[in-house]
């Protein structure tokens, strides 16, 4: 099997007395969408934040294409992080900026694109995500679904190779949820990025992703493809999918 793009090996993380990750192992493969499922408060977002460097593990290793992240040169680490993009659970849009500026921010601050090229890129993303005529509006003036799409547009505007979605459909109605899921699926096919999605949308999420990992009690209790799920005899997985307490 191919070398995973990102691999967690025995990763542990504590916040004071709370042991969130307890020797977690997980593999994320290039060009695939991996869903991380599990009960609330089991450390799924913490896991994502390890990938993007917002949280550092207490022990264990994170490998990037087989190489420990901790042993990479600062330049290589920077390059890796530049390939990443993160969509926050609550969108984390800047409420003092209008929608256009929110989406343009990573381009304006990081790249040396001329103004007209930034404009072109932003408007293209807005158009692709159905965000028409709202450039001058502020996040507080938009509906929840619109804000999600703005957050998605901002996450995709730098053409990332890896996109991390932290519960992208929280607070959306079933129709919007379906739309966001198909949007992720569609754009993943179009831009061929690798994605990790933290989600509670079971079983809908299974139609979007190629791989699923069940996080419980600080470790991955099940990891595999959709087919593996169907074939799985894992009681814990089946109970979770059935909505029983695990």
């Amino acid at each position: 099997m191919a070398i995973p793009l990102i691999q967690f090996i025995n990763v542990s993380k504590n916040f004071g007395e709370s042991h969130v990750l307890k020797g977690l192992n997980l593999s994320i493969y290039k060009g695939e969408i991996t869903a991380v499922i599990g009960k609330s408060g089991t450390g799924k977002s913490v896991l994502l934040k390890h990938i993007i460097g917002l949280v550092q593990q207490d022990s264990g290793q994170i490998l990037i294409e087989g190489q420990p992240l901790s042993q990479l040169s600062p330049k290589k680490i920077k390059l890796f992080y530049q390939k990443l993009s993160y969509m926050f659970q609550d969108n984390a849009l800047f409420d003092f900026m209008n929608i256009y500026d929110n989406i343009a921010l990573p381009l304006v601050e990081n790249s040396r694109f001329p103004k007209d090229q930034v404009n072109k890129k932003v408007l293209k993303r807005m158009d692709q995500l159905g965000l028409i005529d709202i450039e001058k509006k502020f996040p507080s003036q938009l509906s929840g679904g619109m804000r999600k799409r703005v957050a998605l547009a901002r996450a995709l505007v730098m053409d990332p190779e890896i996109v991390l979605f932290d519960e992208p459909t929280t607070g959306l109605d079933p129709i919007r949820k379906k739309k966001v899921h198909s949007m992720i699926q569609e754009y993943q096919k179009k831009f061929e990025f690798t994605a990790v999605i933290v989600s509670h949308d079971i079983p809908e999420i299974f139609n979007v992703v190629q791989r699923i990992a069940l996080l419980d009690d600080g470790i991955i209790k099940f990891e595999g493809t959709k087919k593996d799920i169907l074939d799985s005899q894992s009681k814990i997985l089946n109970d979770f999918i059935a909505g029983k307490d695990i």
């Binding site: 934040k49 993007i52 460097g53 917002l54 920077k78 992080y81 530049q82 990443l84 993009s85 993160y86 926050f88 659970q89 609550d90 984390a92 849009l93 800047f94 003092f96 921010l105 990573p106 601050e109 990081n110 901002r154 730098m158």
Partner: protein, 261 residues
């Protein structure tokens, strides 16, 4: 029992030292990031408008009444020793080297500093600061550095405004209400104020700008460490930012006066 007390004292001391180190590093990082390209002109202007322009009214109002009170109090004190003619000198020197920079800094901290702490605090608890990091944008450079520059420009200008309006306030009390000769008042102002006094006032204003902006932005930035998450965390950060800034203003005022006057 004693062991626990010592342990607690030690823990508090370590935490205090850690905070002190953190705030120094935060300030250093903010200042050094001012000089990294590209310069953030638009943001500096935006913050100058907020810190400076929007504070003008409150500075004029407080400056005028401070000057008027100084005029009244000064007159009643000076008249006892027959020196009411020195009212202009007393008002202007008190304002330029002491009350002007201190009151301006306190007023701007109450108005703009609290807002800085609250805004950055809300950004912290709503993960907007994390979002900046994920976009490879240095949050200290983005949020703090333009505010330092804006404050460093605005504070001395507002102090100058406060001084001028305050001297006029003293003039209103002295000339219009107490009947002091207007020419004598203005002449003593001009004769008594030396360039050194004005410089000291500006040094103070500049130092207060740096200290209060650092404390307010720091409190907002580390809301999660000191006050916790949520609305209460932000409100605590804002309160602490203003209180600590005011204390720092008085401490630095003493230090600068001690060394420069």
């Amino acid at each position: 029992m004693l062991n626990k007390l010592i342990e607690k004292f030690g823990e508090k001391t370590i935490n205090l030292l850690k905070s002190f180190g953190r705030i120094i590093l935060f300030c250093f990082s903010g200042v050094t990031n001012i000089f990294t390209l590209p310069f953030q002109f638009a943001k500096i202007i935006e913050h100058m408008w907020f810190i400076g322009t929007k504070s003008i009214f409150v500075i004029i109002l407080t400056g005028l009444f401070t000057g008027m009170v100084l005029g009244l109090q000064g007159y009643y004190s000076l008249v006892k020793v027959g020196s009411e003619a020195a009212l202009g000198a007393a008002v202007s020197l008190t304002l330029i080297s002491e009350l002007g920079p201190v009151f301006t800094a306190i007023m701007v901290t109450a108005r703009a500093g609290s807002s800085m702490a609250a805004e950055i605090g809300v950004m912290r608890i709503s993960e907007q600061i994390d979002a900046l990091k994920t976009m490879h944008i240095n949050p200290v450079r983005f949020l703090f550095s333009p505010r330092i520059i804006a404050a460093a420009i605005s504070f001395p200008l507002l102090t100058a405004l406060f001084d001028v309006v305050g001297i006029f306030g003293g003039f209103i009390s002295g000339f219009m209400m107490l009947g002091i000769n207007k020419h004598v008042y203005m002449d003593t102002v001009i004769q008594s104020v030396k360039i050194h006094d004005i410089n000291v006032g500006f040094y103070k204003a500049f130092a207060f700008a740096l200290v209060t902006t650092t404390i307010c932005c720091y409190r907002g930035y580390y809301t999660h460490l000191y006050s916790g998450f949520g609305a209460r965390g932000v409100s605590l950060s804002t309160t602490n930012a203003v209180v600590h800034s005011c204390i720092a203003i008085f401490i630095f005022d003493y230090i600068i006066t001690f060394f420069w006057v």
